[in-house]
C-alpha cells in the first residue's frame, strides 16, 4: 500500500505546489505507516523527478509518452486512476491547482472515492473514516468533510501546507499504462504564459490595487513594488471590469482566491466580496487614505494615507532593507 501523489510540472519543471503536495502526502504516509509514490505525467527530466526524494517520495512513476505532452484531463485522470490501482493507494493526493480542479473529481469518480476539494490542513484518520478541513462559503467559513469510502482523493490548496525536506532518495520507474484514443478529446493549440510574472495562486507575496489608483496608467508603481518583493500583482473586480487590468488578476469571491504569506492592499476599500478571496492570507497590509475603510478591520498592519505618496517610498524602503 502507498499514498499516491500526482505531481504537476510547467514545461518540465516541477511546480512549487507539486512539492507541497508531495510533503502533504508524506505527512499522511507517516500517520498511516505507508510510503509515498509520486506520479508524473508528461515530459520531465529524471534529474528533476529525483528531487522528490528529498520530500519523502520513495518511488516516482514516470508516465512520459509523446501523447501525454499536453494536459487533457480525461486522459490524465485515467492514468492517475490506473496508478492508484497499481499501487493499491487508499489515499490519492493532488494539488487544487487550475488543472487539479479538472482532474480531482474525475479521478475520484473513477475510483468510487469520496473527494475532498481544497483541503487546508492534514486529514485525521479513524479506521476507514477520514476527516479534513476545507474552506467554504468563499473563505467566510471552514467545513470539516468526512469521507468513508475505502479510497479517498484529496486536493490540497496551494500555499496551505509547507514544503518540508526530510531527506531520502526516490527510485524512478517508467509507467506506461494503456492509453485510449478516445480519452484525447481536447487539442491544446497554444499556451500563453506571462513568463516574467509570478503566478498569482502560488505567490507568497501579492501586491494588489483597487479603484483608488484612479486609472491603468498608475500601475507602474504597483508593478515596481511587486518586483522588489518578488510578488504577483492582483486587483479588485471593478479594476478588471473596467479593463485596467486583465481578468486573471481579479481576486475575490468571483475571482481568484489567494492565501499568500503577505497580501498588500492598496486603494481597495475591502468589500465583503473582495475579502472573501484574500482573508486566508497570513499577513495583510492595507494602504488607504480613508481611515474608515472596512479593509482596516481585517488587516494586520495599516497606513492611512495617499497611495501615490506611500507606494514609491515603500518600494524604496524595501530596496534598502534587501540591500543590507
Amino acid at each position: 500500500m502507498a499514498i499516491l501523489v500526482y505531481i504537476e510540472n510547467t514545461d518540465g519543471s516541477l511546480k512549487k505546489s507539486a512539492f507541497e503536495a508531495a510533503s502533504y502526502a508524506k505527512a499522511i504516509a507517516d500517520q498511516l505507516g505507508d510510503t509515498v509514490t509520486a506520479l508524473s505525467i508528461g515530459n520531465v527530466d529524471k534529474s528533476e523527478l529525483e528531487k522528490l526524494g528529498k520530500y519523502g517520495v520513495s518511488k516516482v512513476l514516470d508516465a512520459n509518452q509523446d501523447k501525454l505532452k499536453s494536459f487533457v484531463n480525461k486522459a490524465y485522470a485515467s492514468i492517475i486512476a490506473a496508478a492508484a490501482k497499481q499501487e493499491d493507494a487508499k489515499v490519492v493526493v493532488l494539488s487544487n491547482s487550475f488543472s487539479g480542479k479538472g482532474l480531482g473529481p474525475r479521478v475520484a469518480a473513477k475510483l468510487d472515492a469520496g473527494f475532498a476539494d481544497g483541503a487546508i490542513n492534514l486529514p485525521t484518520f479513524n479506521g476507514e473514516s477520514m476527516e479534513v478541513k476545507k474552506t467554504a462559503f468563499s473563505n467566510k467559513a471552514f467545513a470539516t468533510e468526512v469521507i468513508n469510502s475505502s479510497v479517498k482523493v484529496i486536493a490540497v490548496n496551494p500555499n496551505a501546507f509547507e514544503v518540508k525536506e526530510v531527506g531520502g532518495t526516490a527510485e524512478i520507474v517508467d509507467f506506461t499504462p494503456a492509453i485510449q484514443d478516445q480519452d484525447f478529446n481536447v487539442m491544446v493549440k497554444e499556451i500563453v504564459r506571462a513568463t516574467d510574472k509570478v503566478s498569482l495562486p502560488e505567490a507568497e507575496i501579492v501586491v494588489s490595487a483597487g479603484r483608488g489608483l484612479k486609472g491603468p496608467e498608475n500601475w507602474g508603481m504597483i508593478e515596481e513594488l511587486a518586483e522588489v518583493l518578488g510578488a504577483a500583482t492582483a486587483c479588485s473586480k471593478p479594476v478588471s471590469d473596467a479593463g485596467w487590468r486583465p481578468h486573471s488578476e481579479h481576486v475575490g469571491q468571483t475571482g481568484i482566491v489567494v492565501s499568500p504569506n503577505l497580501y498588500i492592499a492598496i486603494g481597495i476599500s475591502g468589500a465583503i466580496q473582495h475579502l472573501a478571496g484574500v482573508s486566508s492570507s497570513k499577513t495583510i497590509v492595507v494602504i488607504n487614505k480613508d481611515p474608515e475603510a472596512p479593509f482596516f478591520k481585517v488587516a494586520d498592519y495599516g497606513i492611512v494615507g495617499d497611495a501615490f505618496e506611500i507606494v514609491p517610498k515603500l518600494t524604496q524602503a524595501i530596496k534598502n532593507i534587501k540591500n543590507n
Binding site: 480525461k74 468563499s138 467559513a141 506571462a194
Partner: protein
C-alpha cells in the same frame, strides 16, 4: 444547438455566514438567494449563442421548491425552459449524478456550469459531468467560442492560459470573461412566468462524503496602524517575518 445550463441557488454575496444546531447546519435565516454569479455568466453566454433561432437553452437546478424564484430569473434572462430535480443538493457528487441522469437521454451539444458555486466552492460539477457522461470537460474557461461543431476555449492556467479546441458535445465551467451578465428586461420577466418548468424526482446516489461541522474563521487581532513606511518595513521584517 441544444444547450444545458446548470444553475445553483446560493446566498447573496453580501450574506453573513452563520451556522446553527452546533455548527452543523448553514443558517439560512434572512439570507437572500441569487443565481450563482458564475452560472449567470454561463447562462448569458448560452443565451447569446442561441439568439436568432440558433439554438435552445434549458436550465437545470437540483433543489427543493424554494429555488423556483432563481429558476424563474434564469428564464427571465432568456432560457427557454427549465428542469428542477426535486431534492436537497447534498454535495457535488449527488448534484452531478442527478444532472447526468437527466442529460444522458437528451443529446445536448453544450453543457455549461459555473466554475464553482460560491457556497461550497467545490469546482467539481463540470469535471464530474464530463466523467459521468464520458465527455470532454474544461473546468475553468475564460473564453468560449463555437464555430459549427467545434468549440475554442481559453482554459485558465497558473500565470496564463491554454487555448484549446474540442468537438461538441463538451462540458464547460465558465468564469469571468466568457460573457457579460445579462439583465432581464420587462418582456423577459413577463414571459418567464409561462415558460415550461418541469419537476423531476431524484435518483438514488451513494453517499461518498459529508460535512460534519462548520466553523467561522477566528477574528483577526486589531490592526496596527503605523505612520511611515520604514516602521512598516521593520514590522514586516522582524515581527511578521514575511519579507
Amino acid at each position: 444547438m441544444r444547450i444545458l445550463v446548470c444553475i445553483s441557488n446560493v446566498p447573496d454575496t453580501t450574506s453573513k455566514i452563520t451556522f446553527s444546531n452546533d455548527n452543523t447546519v448553514f443558517n439560512s435565516n434572512g439570507i437572500q438567494y441569487i443565481i450563482n454569479p458564475y452560472d449567470e455568466i454561463a447562462l448569458s453566454k448560452a443565451v447569446e449563442l442561441s439568439e436568432g433561432g440558433k439554438g435552445t437553452v434549458t436550465v437545470i437546478n437540483v433543489g427543493d421548491s424554494s429555488t423556483e424564484p432563481t429558476i424563474r430569473k434564469a428564464l427571465a434572462i432568456g432560457a427557454d425552459d427549465a428542469v428542477r430535480v426535486n431534492a436537497q443538493p447534498r454535495d457535488a457528487w449527488f448534484v452531478a449524478n442527478q444532472i447526468a441522469n437527466y442529460a444522458k437521454g437528451e443529446n445536448f451539444d453544450l453543457i455549461l456550469t459555473g466554475r464553482e458555486s460560491i457556497d461550497y466552492n467545490g469546482a467539481q460539477v463540470a469535471a464530474l459531468l464530463g466523467e459521468l457522461l464520458s465527455l470532454p470537460s474544461v473546468s475553468i474557461a475564460k473564453k468560449l467560442d463555437i464555430q459549427g461543431t467545434e468549440a475554442t476555449i481559453d482554459r485558465e492556467i497558473e500565470g496564463g492560459k491554454e487555448v484549446l479546441t474540442v468537438s461538441l458535445p463538451v462540458v464547460v465551467g465558465t468564469a469571468e470573461g466568457v460573457a457579460e451578465p445579462k439583465i432581464p428586461n420587462m418582456r423577459g420577466i413577463m414571459g418567464a412566468r409561462t415558460k415550461p418548468l418541469q419537476v423531476i424526482e431524484p435518483i438514488e446516489v451513494k453517499e461518498l462524503s459529508s460535512i460534519s461541522r462548520y466553523e467561522s474563521p477566528a477574528p483577526r487581532s486589531a490592526v496596527k496602524l503605523v505612520d511611515d513606511v520604514d516602521q512598516l518595513v521593520q514590522l514586516l521584517h522582524s515581527e511578521a517575518k514575511v519579507i
